[in-house]
């Protein structure tokens, strides 16, 4: 890994992100300038102001302000696995909603989450996910008539 990346702290990373946001805002402002309908102001005005401010704050954070002494620690091992597993499950749940439909996706997604959080037996997880899915179905689909995805299975 390059030396400067090893030395980069969270603060520097955050500063670079804000510099990037500032550049994006300025770029969009320049793109919108020709589309201005009035002479004084347009949709580019606010992005221009914001871009300058973001760039300035990002530079300040990266190169001027001293990084805090306190280092941030992230979980490891089993806990890290649970956190990553939960987020992966949620993204998979989101991806499946359009194809498997709301009922099946919720049943599967919540079952996996109960397993990750509580380390219950699969039978217990499936009972809990059935209860949760049924409750949400009754509230949102039966009572509130919200149009949830039905997917390729048709329900």
């Amino acid at each position: 890994m390059p030396g400067f990346l090893k030395r980069m702290s969270g603060q520097h990373a955050a500063g670079f992100i804000f510099i990037l946001l500032g550049v994006l805002s300025l770029a969009e402002s320049f793109r919108l300038r020709p589309l201005r309908m009035r002479d004084a102001v347009g949709d580019d005005t606010f992005p221009l102001i914001l871009g300058v401010v973001l760039l300035s704050l990002g530079i300040l954070k990266t190169f001027v302000v001293k990084a805090p002494a306190k280092r941030v620690s992230f979980p490891r091992g089993k806990v890290a696995g649970k956190i990553l597993g939960s987020m992966a499950t949620l993204f998979a749940y989101w991806a499946c909603l359009a194809y498997l439909g709301y009922v099946v996706s919720t049943f599967l997604g919540s079952g996996v989450l109960f397993k990750l959080f509580g380390e219950y037996r699969w039978r217990t997880c499936l009972v809990a996910s059935t209860l949760l899915t049924t409750s949400l179905y009754i509230i949102f689909i039966r009572f509130l008539k919200m149009p949830f995805p039905i997917g390729i299975l048709g329900f």
Binding site: R31, T45, P47, L50, K61, M146
Partner: protein, 489 residues
């Protein structure tokens, strides 16, 4: 009808992603079988029931039911973690009742006069008001003004995506159709608050939301005494600002929270479980809801999206809100006003007994509550626009919210500026369009100048208060790093 409306509104308002606008829109068909007056009474009940309902999950689970409930999370959730979820809910209910009642009094006696005053607010005045609201960012910075400013700017940046207000051309969408409508605020809020909170709970291996034994489920006399003045102040802020069309409860609740923090002798308690931090924004929330009826009834101008839907409901029944409504249909107007008072009382009667039941939710094992909260978040994010892209946004901001918590970056400035961004930009663009590009317009109009001066004074006071709080915390704890709340508030 008021009872039924308040009950239904509360139930729907509890569900994240479904705010008062959605609640009224979903439940309007239920009112179609009723004659006009009972139907409108029921719709009004749904409106303020939904406004109250959002606070329940905000306090107990850190999931704001709507954006206006975000300030309630800041102290309500820490209170729930301390086993005081019941008293917090009770104070929210009592504060809502008090604010609603005073709001009805204002509506009864001052509706036409106050509506005329609200008309004096033009784009420069709105711009000044948004600048004033921005000063709240300083008070909620949690000790790092730079981080607060950076997060505020990020909030503005996110609010820019979508269709430009001046030209109607899309911006910041980078060719993505999903971003034509912008980034959905409630998805961001649910992700940053609720999903991130569950991930932190998983990291800390929590056994339940309430990490201390649940004490009394009702507020004590001490809680009530402590909350009385914040309720009055919150009501004042919410009511007078709620008269302004476009000034949403999301803005007034933040202002009320910040005002309370400034008025407190111990501002360092805010963010750690201060009862005043629940009383003020909840009162402001309900007061704004009530005040919104004044421009609606007197001038036919809906002050917020839920009231716009309500206006549609009124027109379905052939009632045209405006100056003539009081003259042509006085019995209808007074029936609605009377129902508001009854509805507020019923909300209190309905919700206070349930407070104990809701509070017990915090004792449910986290291994069960965590997955339930996550699934409800996904469902809530989807129901905002029936759009899966909003769910994706929610999940991405869940990760971002987790990282923000780890690195102690405050979330509230991001949310606040996301709300204020479009209003600020519109005020700026319209004002400069009126003046032909001259910024002097903001200083030539009395109300606008007054608001900008007030913003300057508040900014100075906020910075001073922040320094004083830092000094006090350092003295008390003898550490070199200031104590921060969960979200740097």
């Amino acid at each position: 009808m008021a009872l039924v409306g308040a009950l239904l509104g509360t139930i729907v308002g509890v569900l994240p992603g479904l705010g008062p606008t959605s609640a009224i829109a979903i439940l309007i068909p239920l009112t179609s079988v009723l004659p006009p007056t009972p139907a409108i009474i029921m719709m009004a009940g749904i409106f303020y029931g939904a406004m109250y309902g959002g606070s329940t999950t905000a306090i107990l689970l850190n999931i704001p039911g709507e954006v206006a409930s975000v300030p309630t999370c800041l102290d309500g959730y820490p209170l729930a973690q301390q086993g005081k979820g019941g008293p917090a809910l009770g104070i929210a209910a009592i504060g809502s009742f008090m604010a609603g009642t005073l709001g009805v009094v204002g509506l009864t006696f001052f509706a036409p006069f106050l509506a005329d005053q609200a008309l004096k607010f033009g784009p420069p005045e709105y711009f000044g008001l948004m600048i004033l609201a921005m000063t709240v960012m300083v008070g909620l910075s949690g000790g790092s003004l730079l981080k607060s400013l950076m997060m505020g700017c990020t909030g503005y940046f996110l609010s820019l995506a979508g269709i430009g207000p001046a030209s109607g051309f899309p911006r910041f969408n980078y060719g993505t159709v999903a971003l034509y409508g912008g980034v959905e605020l409630i998805s961001v809020v649910i992700g940053i608050f609720a999903i991130a909170e569950v991930l932190i709970g998983l990291e800390e291996s929590r056994t339940a939301v309430a990490m201390q034994k649940i004490g009394s489920v009702y507020p004590s006399l001490k809680d009530l005494k402590m909350s009385f003045r914040p309720m009055v102040r919150g009501t004042g802020v919410g009511f007078f600002l709620g008269l302004l069309p476009g000034c949403a409860p999301a803005v007034t609740t933040f202002l009320a929270y910040d005002l309370e923090k400034k008025a407190s002798l111990h501002p360092e308690r805010f963010g750690q479980g201060a009862m005043e931090g629940v009383a003020a924004p909840e009162s402001a929330n309900n007061a704004t809801s009530q005040a919104g009826f004044i421009p609606l009834m007197a001038l036919g101008i809906p002050a917020s999206p839920p009231l716009a839907v309500l206006l549609g409901g009124l027109m379905i029944y052939g009632l045209q809100p405006g100056p003539l409504l009081f003259k042509d249909h006085p019995s209808f107007v007074w029936a609605v006003i009377a129902s508001m008072f009854i509805g507020n009382a019923l909300l209190l009667v309905l919700n206070l007994p349930l407070v104990g039941l809701w509070a017990r939710l915090t004792a449910i094992p986290y291994a069960i509550m965590g997955p339930v909260i996550m699934v409800i978040c996904i469902v809530g994010a989807f129901t905002v626009n029936n759009n899966l892209n909003d769910v994706f946004v929610c999940l991405v901001f869940g990760i971002i919210g987790y990282l923000m918590r780890k690195y102690e970056w405050p979330a509230v400035p991001l949310i606040l500026c996301f709300i204020l961004g479009p209003l600020l930009e519109r005020g700026l663009i319209e004002s400069l369009a009126i003046s032909g590009g001259s910024v002097l317009i903001f200083f030539q109009r009395g109300i606008s100048l007054g608001l900008l001066i007030a913003a300057g004074i508040l900014l100075f006071l906020s910075i001073k208060l922040m320094k004083r709080t830092e000094r006090r915390v350092k003295e008390e704890e003898g550490s070199s790093v200031p104590q921060k709340g969960e979200f740097g508030s």
